[in-house]
C-alpha cells in the first residue's frame, strides 16, 4: 500500500527519532578502562530467563544489561568508578521476584549468576502511583491495581481504558455507545457526585495530566496501568482525584537487549456486525383482501380492522411485504489495525517508538466510520551519574463521519415501517433514492425515511492530539532525589456539518441547506518539582519524605459559526451562507491550579508500613473566598506472615487507610452570569464566592493473602462519603432578580463497595499453563443530603428521558415512574375510588397481559391499563434500580505448547435498564410486544391498549428490564510459531518470532434484555442506565498476525 503524502509523516518522525537516538548514543560511550560483568539468569528449574534486567548502582548511577536468549548478560562499568567497591547487584524480571547479590568489583572481568524465583502474582513488582517513591506492591498500604501489557496484548483494545474492562475489581467500564472512536465510560467504586457524566477519574500518561478523550490513545503503546480507586489512595492527587486516578506508563526502550533494535509489527483485519437484533413487530391491524394484499380506499388509504388487533400478516412478496429494516441496512463494517513498534537500548540511551493506523467502520450504513493514526516516541538519556532525563511524545489524528453521540439516525431506523423498500419508498419518486417522505399509507405523516439524511448530509469530525512530557532527575546525594517535569496535553478538534441546499425536509419540502463549522483548541499543562529523601535508620527503619510542588493550567478555546441558509448550491463554504441567518458563539476559559504536598512514609523491618501525607490545593475554579483546600491521608499495612508462620499461607497482609480527595467545580460554576447568545443578554446563574471542592473522605480496609502457592486473594471494603457535592440549586426567580440557579456545595453522597479479586495459577507445567483471574464487586450508593427539593434528572439531551429522580435519603441510580395495576385489590388504595360510592371491583378484570382493565373496555380499542395510585394520591414510585448486585470479570489463559487461548467474560447480576427505545417504538407500533400474530386468539389485545403503555414517554414499569448479562468480551486463539518452524522456513535470521491469532470482541452476550445490548448507560455515567437510541455495541471478529524482528 502506497502512503500518500499526509500519511508519510509518521515515517519521517520515526527517521528523525532514529537520528536523535543516534546522536544521543554518541554521547553515551563508556570510558576506556572498565570492568566487564557477565553471567546468566535462570529460573529455579534451571531454565534461562531472557529479558531479565540486571543492574548495579555505583556512585548513584545505574549500570546494567538485559539477558539475551540463553539468559546470559554482559555489561561494563568504568574501572575508576567501580574497582574495589562493594555494592548490590539486582536482577528483575516480570513474573519473578527480584534477586539481590552483594558483590565486590575486582579485576577486569567477573561472573555473577542469578537464580530467580517465580512471582506469578507480581507482589514484588514496583508501583509508582500515589506513593512517594517506587514501592513494592506488597508494601502499599492502600488499594492499587496494576494491569500490565501482558494482560492487554491478547486482544488489543480500542483505548487503554477499554483494555481494563473486566480485569480490575471495583472498576466499571462500559462502552455505553458502540460508536467507533468513542471512549468508554469508566467509574471506580461508587458515584462521587450528582452531576451527569462526572465520574471519570484523573488520568495520567507518562506524567501528563490528561484532559481529553482516551480514544485518541493507542492501547498497544501501554506498558502498564496503575489504578487508584478512591480518596484513601488518591489523596496524593488532591482536588481532582475523588473519582480515582489511572496512571498509564507507555513502553520505553529500557527493557531491550543492549544494542539490539527490537522491531515488532502487528496487523489485524476483520469485520463487525450486530450479534443480537432488537425484535420487532411482524403483524399489523389493516384490513386485507382475500389474496392477502392490503385493502385500500380511493385515496390509497388503508382501513383499520374493527378490532384494532395487530395480528394480520404482511404479504410475503411485492412492495408491501415485511422487511427486516435493521438487518437490511446495518452493515457488516470492516476493521483493520496496523502497528509497528521499534525499541532500542544502548549505553546511556534508550528509545522506543511506534506507529499505528487503524480503521473501524462500524455498522452504520453509508458511513466510513473512524480512522486513526498515532505515533509515539519515548527517549531516556543519562547525562552523567547524577542526572538523567526522559522525553515522551505522542501525536495522533483521527476522523469520523457521524455526529458524535447522535441518536438521529437510530431513532427513525428502529421505527421504520417494515412494508416498504427504504431505497425507493415512493413509486412516484424514482430519481431520489431514500426519498424522505414516506407514503401516507405507510406512516408518511409520522416519520421520515431514516436513510435520506444519511444519504445527503455529511459530517466531518477531525481530532488532533498531542501529548508531550519531559522530565529531568537529579540525585545530588545518596539519600536525595530531585526531579522536575513538564507535561502537556493538547487537543484540536474540528467539526463540520453540511446539508446541501435543495435537500428535502421530512415532508419533502426543499430546504436552503445548512452549514456549520466549529473548532476547539485546548491546551493543558502541568509542571511539577519533587524532592524525595530516603534513608535507612538503625538498619531496619526506612523513611521516605517527599515534598512536591505542582502547577496545572488548562485553557479551552472554542468557536462556532453556522448558518441555516446557503445562498449558493453545492458550495459548502461559510461565504455561501446568507449573512442574515448566521449563528456564532465562542468561549475562552482559563483554569489554573497550584498544589503543594508533603508526605512521609515509614517502613519498619519490611513488615510495618505507615504512610501520611498533607496536600494543599489552590484553584481558580474555587470561589474567590474559598481558594484553598486541604487534603490528607493516613495509611498503614502490616505483613502478618513476616511475624507469624501460617500453614499454606505465603503472605497475609492487613491494611487500612483513610484519606481525602476532591472534585473541582466547572469553569463557570462560581460566577454570576448573564448568558450571551448572538449578542443578546439573559440572566443565568447567581455567583457563589464560597464555592469549594467537593471533598470525599474514604475509609478503606484490605486483606491480601497468597496461599497454596497458587492463589492470590484480595478483599477490600471501601466506605466513602463525598461532602459538598455540586448541585445547581434552583432559586426563586423573583427573589433572585431573574437568576435561575446557583451552583452550591449542596449534596452529600455515600458509597460503600466490597471488592474481591482472586488470581490463580492453576497449572504451571512447561507445556501447559492455565491461569484464571476472578474479579467481583458490589457497590451501594445513597444521597445522604440533597440540599434542594427532589428533582428529575435528564441524563443527556436528545432521546434521554428523565426517568431518574434524586431525592434525599434514597439510593442513587433509582428509576422513578408510574406503576400499572396488576391486582384489582390495588385499586382500593386510590382515595378517589374510596370516596366514589359507585366504585366496584366487579367492574374490573385482569387481561391476558396481566393488567387490570375496565371490564367494559376489554377487547376494545379503549382497553387501557390503570395507573396505581396509593393512599396519599401519589402515582410516582421507585420502579427500578440501575445498581447491579454484582459486577464481575473472569479471565482465562490457557497455553499448551504453541497454542494459547485467552477468554475474558464479564457481566453484571441485577441492575435495571430503562428501555426508552422500546417505549418510543411502542408509539410507532414497532415493538415485538405489540405483535399479536403469534399469540393465542383469546389472548390478543387491541393496539389501543399498548398505546396507553407508551404513556407519552412518561416513565412506567413496563419499560424497566433486568439488565443482567454475561458477555464473552474478549476471545483470542493464537498460535506462536516455534523457532524450529521459523528455521525450517529459513526466515529465522530475519524473523525472531511470529504469531497468528483469531480474535473476537463482544462475541456473545447472554441476557434477557430485549434491546440490542444490555451494556447501556447515558450521559457518560453509570447512574443513568437508559437505552435511548444509542449506537449499539457490535461484535468484531478479526485475524491478527504479529512478527518480531
Amino acid at each position: 500500500m502506497a502512503f500518500t503524502t499526509p500519511r508519510a509523516w509518521p515515517w519521517r518522525l520515526a527517521s528523525a527519532a532514529r537520528l536523535f537516538a543516534l546522536l544521543l548514543l554518541l554521547t553515551g560511550v563508556a570510558g576506556a578502562q572498565s570492568i566487564t560483568i557477565s553471567g546468566k539468569v535462570t529460573s529455579e528449574a534451571g531454565q534461562p530467563i531472557p529479558g531479565a534486567n540486571v543492574a548495579v548502582s555505583l556512585q548513584n548511577q545505574f549500570y546494567g544489561a538485559v539477558a539475551k536468549d540463553q539468559g546470559t548478560f554482559s555489561f561494563t562499568v568504568p574501572a575508576a568508578v567501580g574497582r574495589g567497591q562493594t555494592t548490590t547487584m539486582t536482577a528483575r524480571m516480570f513474573g519473578y521476584g527480584p534477586v539481590k547479590k552483594t558483590v565486590t568489583l575486582t579485576g577486569s572481568s567477573m561472573t555473577v549468576d542469578f537464580v530467580m524465583k517465580a512471582d506469578p502474582f507480581r507482589l514484588t513488582e514496583l508501583v509508582i502511583t500515589g506513593v512517594a517513591t517506587e514501592t513494592s506492591l506488597n508494601k502499599v498500604p492502600f488499594s492499587i491495581a496494576k494491569v500490565d501489557a501482558a494482560q492487554m496484548k491478547e486482544v488489543p483494545a480500542s483505548s487503554p481504558i477499554a483494555a481494563l474492562a473486566g480485569k480490575v475489581s471495583g472498576t466499571r467500564i462500559e462502552l455505553a455507545s458502540g460508536e467507533p472512536g468513542a471512549a468508554p465510560t469508566i467509574r471506580l467504586r461508587g458515584a462521587t457526585n450528582l452531576g451527569v457524566g462526572a465520574s471519570t477519574p484523573l488520568i495520567l500518561i507518562d506524567g501528563v495530566i490528561t484532559k481529553f478523550s482516551m480514544a485518541d490513545i493507542d492501547a498497544s503503546d501501554v506498558e502498564n496501568i496503575e489504578i487508584l480507586k478512591g480518596a484513601a489512595a488518591a489523596s496524593f492527587y488532591g482536588s481532582d482525584a475523588a473519582n480515582g486516578v489511572i496512571n498509564i506508563t507507555t513502553k520505553r526502550g529500557k527493557n531491550g537487549a543492549e544494542g539490539e533494535m527490537q522491531i515488532r509489527t502487528r496487523s489485524e483485519f476483520g469485520s463487525s456486525d450486530i450479534e443480537h437484533y432488537v425484535k420487532t413487530n411482524h403483524s399489523h391491524y389493516w384490513v386485507l383482501n382475500a389474496d392477502g394484499s392490503f385493502k385500500v380506499d380511493a385515496s390509497g388509504a388503508r382501513t383499520m380492522k374493527a378490532d384494532g388487533i395487530m395480528d394480520a400478516p404482511y404479504p410475503t412478496s411485492g412492495p408491501d411485504m415485511w422487511r427486516d429494516q435493521l438487518k437490511t441496512y446495518l452493515q457488516g463494517g470492516s476493521f483493520y489495525s496496523n502497528n509497528v513498534q521499534l525499541a532500542m537500548k544502548r549505553g546511556n540511551t534508550n528509545f522506543a517508538t511506534s506507529f499505528t493506523s487503524d480503521h473501524d467502520q462500524g455498522i452504520m450504513p453509508m458511513r466510513d466510520g473512524f480512522f486513526r493514526q498515532t505515533a509515539r516516541l519515548n527517549v531516556d538519556q543519562a547525562v552523567n551519574p547524577k542526572i538523567d532525563m526522559s522525553m515522551s511524545v505522542t501525536y495522533g489524528t483521527s476522523k469520523y463521519d457521524l455526529p458524535q453521540g447522535s441518536t438521529g439516525a437510530w431513532f427513525p431506523l428502529l421505527q421504520a415501517p417494515p412494508d416498504l423498500d427504504l431505497k425507493w419508498p415512493d413509486a412516484k419518486q424514482t430519481t431520489i433514492p431514500y426519498f424522505p417522505k414516506l407514503p401516507v399509507s405507510k406512516g408518511g405523516a409520522l416519520r421520515e425515511n431514516p436513510l435520506y439524511n444519511l444519504s445527503v448530509a455529511s459530517t466531518a469530525y477531525n481530532r488532533e492530539r498531542f501529548l508531550g512530557s519531559a522530565s529531568v532527575r537529579y540525585r545530588p546525594f545518596e539519600w536525595l532525589k530531585m526531579d522536575a517535569s513538564y507535561g502537556t496535553d493538547r487537543s484540536n478538534r474540528r467539526n463540520n456539518n453540511y446539508t446541501p441546499r435543495g435537500s428535502l425536509t421530512a415532508t419533502a419540502q426543499p430546504t436552503d441547506g445548512s452549514l456549520s463549522n466549529s473548532s476547539s483548541n485546548d491546551v493543558a499543562e502541568n509542571m511539577q518539582v519533587n524532592a524525595i529523601a530516603s534513608k535507612l535508620w538503625f538498619g531496619n527503619l526506612n523513611t521516605t519524605t517527599r515534598a512536591s510542588y505542582l502547577v496545572e493550567k488548562f485553557h479551552e478555546v472554542y468557536a462556532y459559526a453556522g448558518g441555516t441558509k446557503l445562498n449558493v448550491s453545492q458550495v459548502p463554504d461559510m461565504s455561501a451562507l446568507d449573512p442574515s441567518l448566521l449563528n456564532v458563539s465562542s468561549y475562552n476559559r482559563m483554569m489554573n491550579t497550584v498544589n503543594y504536598m508533603v508526605s512521609q512514609a515509614f517502613d519498619y523491618k519490611d513488615r510495618y508500613v505507615l504512610d501520611a501525607l498533607y496536600r494543599k490545593d489552590g484553584s481558580s475554579l474555587f470561589g474567590p473566598d474559598a481558594r484553598w483546600a486541604d487534603f490528607y491521608r493516613v495509611a498503614g499495612t502490616y505483613r502478618l506472615t513476616e511475624d507469624f508462620q501460617i500453614p499454606h499461607v505465603q503472605e497475609l497482609r492487613l491494611r487500612a487507610a483513610q484519606g481525602t480527595a476532591g472534585l473541582r467545580p466547572g469553569f463557570s460554576d462560581q460566577y454570576e452570569t448573564y448568558s450571551l447568545s448572538n449578542g443578546q443578554y439573559s440572566k443565568n446563574q447567581l455567583g457563589n464566592k464560597d464555592l469549594k471542592p467537593a471533598i470525599q473522605t474514604e475509609k478503606e480496609y484490605g486483606l491480601n493473602m497468597q496461599f497454596l502457592n497458587r492463589f492470590d486473594l484480595e478483599v477490600v471494603k471501601a466506605d466513602r462519603r463525598t461532602v459538598g457535592a455540586f448541585l445547581a440549586v434552583p432559586l426563586s426567580l423573583a427573589a433572585s432578580g431573574g437568576f435561575r440557579n446557583q451552583v452550591q456545595n449542596a449534596a452529600t453522597i455515600g458509597a460503600k463497595t466490597m471488592e474481591y479479586s482472586l488470581q490463580s495459577n492453576i497449572l504451571d507445567r512447561p507445556d501447559l499453563k492455565w491461569t484464571v483471574g476472578l474479579t467481583a464487586d458490589h457497590t451501594t450508593q445513597k444521597i445522604e443530603k440533597l440540599g434542594r427539593a427532589a428533582f428529575r434528572v435528564n441524563a443527556d439531551g436528545s432521546q434521554g428521558q428523565d426517568v431518574f429522580y434524586y431525592r434525599e435519603g434514597e439510593p442513587l441510580g433509582i428509576i422513578y415512574g408510574q406503576k400499572w395495576v396488576h391486582n384489582p385489590q390495588q385499586l382500593l388504595d386510590n382515595p378517589a375510588n374510596k370516596s366514589n360510592p359507585a366504585f366496584s371491583l366487579d367492574n374490573y378484570v385482569v387481561n391476558s397481559d396481566g393488567f387490570v382493565v375496565l371490564k367494559a373496555n376489554l377487547g376494545k380499542m379503549s382497553e387501557a391499563p390503570i395507573k396505581y395510585i396509593d393512599g396519599t394520591g401519589n402515582d410516582n414510585f421507585v420502579i427500578g434500580d440501575v445498581n447491579p448486585d454484582l459486577s464481575f470479570g473472569i479471565s482465562n489463559t490457557i497455553r499448551w505448547k504453541s497454542f494459547a487461548v485467552y477468554a475474558l467474560f464479564n457481566g453484571e447480576k441485577g441492575g435495571d435498564i430503562y428501555n426508552f427505545t422500546k417505549q418510543w417504538m411502542t408509539q410507532d407500533e414497532r415493538t415485538a410486544m405489540q405483535d399479536q400474530g403469534s399469540r393465542p386468539v383469546a389472548d390478543r389485545r387491541p393496539s389501543g391498549f399498548y398505546q396507553q403503555l407508551y404513556n407519552a414517554l412518561n416513565a412506567n414499569d413496563v419499560y424497566v428490564e433486568d439488565g443482567s448479562y454475561v458477555k464473552l468480551r474478549e476471545l483470542s486463539v493464537s498460535y506462536t510459531f516455534s523457532q524450529r518452524l521459523l528455521e525450517k522456513a529459513q526466515v529465522s535470521r530475519l524473523i525472531k518470532g511470529a504469531k497468528f491469532a483469531l480474535i473476537g470482541r463482544n462475541l456473545k452476550t447472554w441476557t434477557n434484555y430485549s434491546g440490542f445490548d444490555p451494556e447501556v448507560s447515558s450521559g457518560n455515567d453509570f447512574n443513568f442506565r437508559i437505552d435511548g437510541f444509542k449506537y449499539p455495541n457490535f461484535r468484531k471478529i478479526t485475524g491478527q498476525f504479529e512478527l518480531t524482528f
Binding site: S441, F477, N583, Y671, Y674, S732, L733, A734, G738
Partner: protein, 503 residues
C-alpha cells in the same frame, strides 16, 4: 562544601523557576458577564435593556404554555405529549400536572422562568438608569429607559395573564416579595403600561432594527406608544378569567387604549409583525408550530364554524369541507391523489391525513391544518423566517368593536371594524349596526377564533367568554419547582370539578 553550594544553587534555581511558573488564581469569566460587567458602561446598560425585550418576545411566543393553551381551549388539537398538549387535551379534562418532576412541568416553568428573566434584566437596566447612568444624550437615556419599562410591563402582563398569582417586582423592589393575585399583577402591569405610554408620548426617537425588527413599520417613539396602547387594551381585556369578570371590566378604559393603538384613531393601522431570522435572535415557536402541516392540527370544531358539514367532534372519519361559508377555509382538498401536498391559498386547509395514534383519543386528531404563515412553519427551511405577526391590527379593531358594543357605543363603527376581516378576508355576510350589540359580540368572538387563530390568545379569548370545556384550567398555578423552593404547598387547576362558570 562546593558540592553543597552547587546543590543549593540548583535548588534555588528550581524554586525560582517554580515560583515564576505560578499562575494567577483569580480569573475573569470572559464568556459571560456578571451583573457588574453587564451594566458596567452606559452602552452595556443599553444592551441589557434591549435584550430584555428580546427575552420577553422569545418567551411570549414560545411553545409553552401557548400550545397547551390552544389545545385545552379547543382551538388546535394534538395527541402528542410534547408541550403539555396530550394530557391537557383529555376528555373529560384532568388537572394540570403541576409537579417539578412531571412531564408537563415546562408548561408552567418555561413562561415563569422566561418572563422573570426578562423582568430581572429590565429591572437591572432601570436600576442602573435610576442610579444615574446616562447614555449619549438625555433623549437616548429616555429612549432606552422607556424600552426597559416596556419589557417590564410586557413581562408582568404575561405573568398576570398566565398564572393565578405571581410576584410583582420592579426596580424599586427590595427583599423577598410576596405572591400577588393575578388581579394585582394585572394592575401592576397596567401601571407600567401607563408609564410607558406617558414616557413615549410625542417622542420621535427611533430604535435600531436589531432591537425589534418590525415588518413594514419602524420601531420608534410613535409606534412604541401605539403598541403599548394595544398591549394595555389586550392586557386588560384578556385578564378576565370568566364571563362575569369580562362583563365587569372597564371597557371604556379598554376603548381608550385601543383607540390609540395599532389601529383606531392614532394613525394608519399596522400589524405587530416581527421579522424572523431563522432561529437566531428573533423567532416565534408557537406560530411556527401552528403553521406546520404536521403535529398541531386545527380542532375540527373550528372548521365546523366555517363548514358545518364537518362534524364539530372528530370521530375518525375524515370529512372534506363543503359547502364552505368562509373563504379562509380552502374549499378543495389541498392534497392530491398521490398524497402530495398542494400549497393552499386559504388559511385553513384539508390535508386528508391525521397524525399520531388513534388510541390516545380520536378527538385529538384532525385532518385540517393552518397554513396562513406556512413559510414560517416547522416543516420549512430554515423555518421561523419572514414576517410573523405577534398580533394583527385586526385584534385591536376587534377590541375597539367589542368595547363599543359593551359601552353602548357606535355600533356602526363596530360593524365596520368587524367587517374588515369578516367580509374582507372571510367573504361572509356583512355585519351591521342593525344586528345589535349581542349579535356583533358573537361575530367578534368568531373573528377572534378564525382571524386570530395563530395569535397567542386562544385560552385568554375563550376563558373570558366561558367558552371552555368543563374542567379546563383557566390559568396556571405557580410552578411546583418555585413552590418547592419557597417551601409553599403545591396546587393546581383543572379537572372536572374545578371550573366555575364552565360550559
Amino acid at each position: 562544601m562546593k558540592r553543597h553550594t552547587r546543590f543549593g544553587a540548583i535548588a534555588a534555581a528550581a524554586l525560582l523557576a517554580a515560583s515564576a511558573c505560578t499562575p494567577p488564581l483569580d480569573i475573569k469569566n470572559n464568556d459571560a458577564p456578571d451583573v457588574l460587567r453587564a451594566l458596567a458602561t452606559p452602552s452595556d446598560v443599553k444592551n441589557v435593556a434591549a435584550s430584555s425585550l428580546n427575552t420577553w418576545y422569545i418567551y411570549a411566543t414560545t411553545y409553552e404554555p401557548y400550545l397547551m393553551f390552544d389545545v385545552t381551549a379547543d382551538r388546535a388539537t394534538s395527541n402528542y405529549g410534547n408541550f403539555g398538549m396530550r394530557f391537557n387535551n383529555e376528555e373529560p379534562r384532568i388537572p394540570y400536572g403541576n409537579s417539578s418532576s412531571g412531564s408537563d412541568r415546562g408548561v408552567a416553568e418555561t413562561p415563569w422562568n422566561g418572563q422573570y428573566g426578562a423582568l430581572g434584566a429590565a429591572n437591572d437596566a432601570l436600576r442602573a438608569f435610576k442610579a444615574g447612568v446616562k447614555l449619549s444624550s438625555e433623549a437616548e437615556t429616555d429612549q432606552y429607559k422607556t424600552l426597559a419599562m416596556f419589557s417590564q410591563a410586557a413581562a408582568l402582563t404575561e405573568l398576570g395573564l398566565i398564572f393565578d398569582q405571581a410576584f410583582v417586582v420592579d426596580e424599586n423592589s427590595e427583599g423577598i416579595p410576596k405572591l400577588s393575585k393575578y388581579q394585582d399583577v394585572i394592575t401592576a402591569a397596567m401601571t407600567k403600561w401607563d408609564a410607558v405610554i406617558a414616557a413615549s408620548n410625542g417622542k420621535t426617537y427611533e430604535y435600531p432594527t436589531s432591537i425589534l425588527p418590525l415588518d413594514k413599520v419602524k420601531f420608534n417613539g410613535t409606534t412604541l406608544n401605539r403598541i403599548a396602547n394595544t398591549f394595555a387594551a389586550r392586557t386588560l381585556a384578556y385578564s378576565a378569567r370568566t364571563k362575569a369578570e369580562t362583563d365587569a371590566l372597564s371597557w371604556t378604559r379598554i376603548l381608550g387604549y385601543a383607540d390609540k393603538g395599532i389601529s383606531g384613531n392614532a394613525g394608519a393601522s399596522f400589524d405587530i409583525s416581527v421579522l424572523g431570522d431563522g432561529y437566531v435572535n428573533w423567532y416565534a415557536d408557537f406560530p411556527a408550530a401552528i403553521n406546520s402541516l404536521w403535529g398541531v392540527p386545527v380542532d375540527v370544531s373550528i372548521i365546523n364554524m366555517m363548514s358545518p358539514n364537518v362534524p364539530a367532534k372528530f370521530d375518525g372519519t375524515k370529512v372534506a369541507p363543503g359547502p364552505v361559508h368562509d373563504a379562509r377555509l380552502q374549499a378543495t382538498s389541498a392534497f392530491d391523489a398521490d398524497g402530495n401536498y398542494i400549497t393552499g391559498s386559504a388559511d385553513f386547509s384539508y390535508e386528508g391525513y391525521v397524525v399520531g395514534q388513534v388510541a390516545r383519543g380520536i378527538w385529538k386528531q384532525s385532518p385540517y391544518f393552518y397554513e396562513r404563515y406556512h413559510y414560517y412553519g416547522w416543516d420549512t427551511s430554515p423555518g421561523a423566517e419572514g414576517a410573523q405577526p405577534y398580533t394583527l391590527a385586526a385584534e385591536n379593531d376587534l377590541l375597539i368593536a367589542e368595547a363599543l358594543c359593551r359601552t353602548n357605543g357606535d355600533l356602526a363603527r363596530a360593524a365596520t371594524l368587524i367587517n374588515k376581516t369578516r367580509v374582507g378576508r372571510g367573504h361572509l355576510t356583512p355585519a351591521s349596526a342593525g344586528d345589535g350589540a349581542a349579535k356583533l359580540l358573537t361575530y367578534i368572538a368568531y373573528e377572534q377564533d378564525i382571524e386570530l387563530f395563530s395569535v397567542v390568545n386562544g385560552l385568554y379569548q375563550r376563558r373570558r367568554l366561558d367558552n371552555l370545556q368543563l374542567g379546563t384550567p383557566r390559568h396556571l398555578p405557580v410552578p411546583a419547582k418555585e413552590l418547592e423552593t419557597l417551601g409553599l404547598p403545591i396546587y393546581t387547576f383543572g379537572g372536572a370539578t374545578q371550573n366555575p362558570g364552565g360550559k
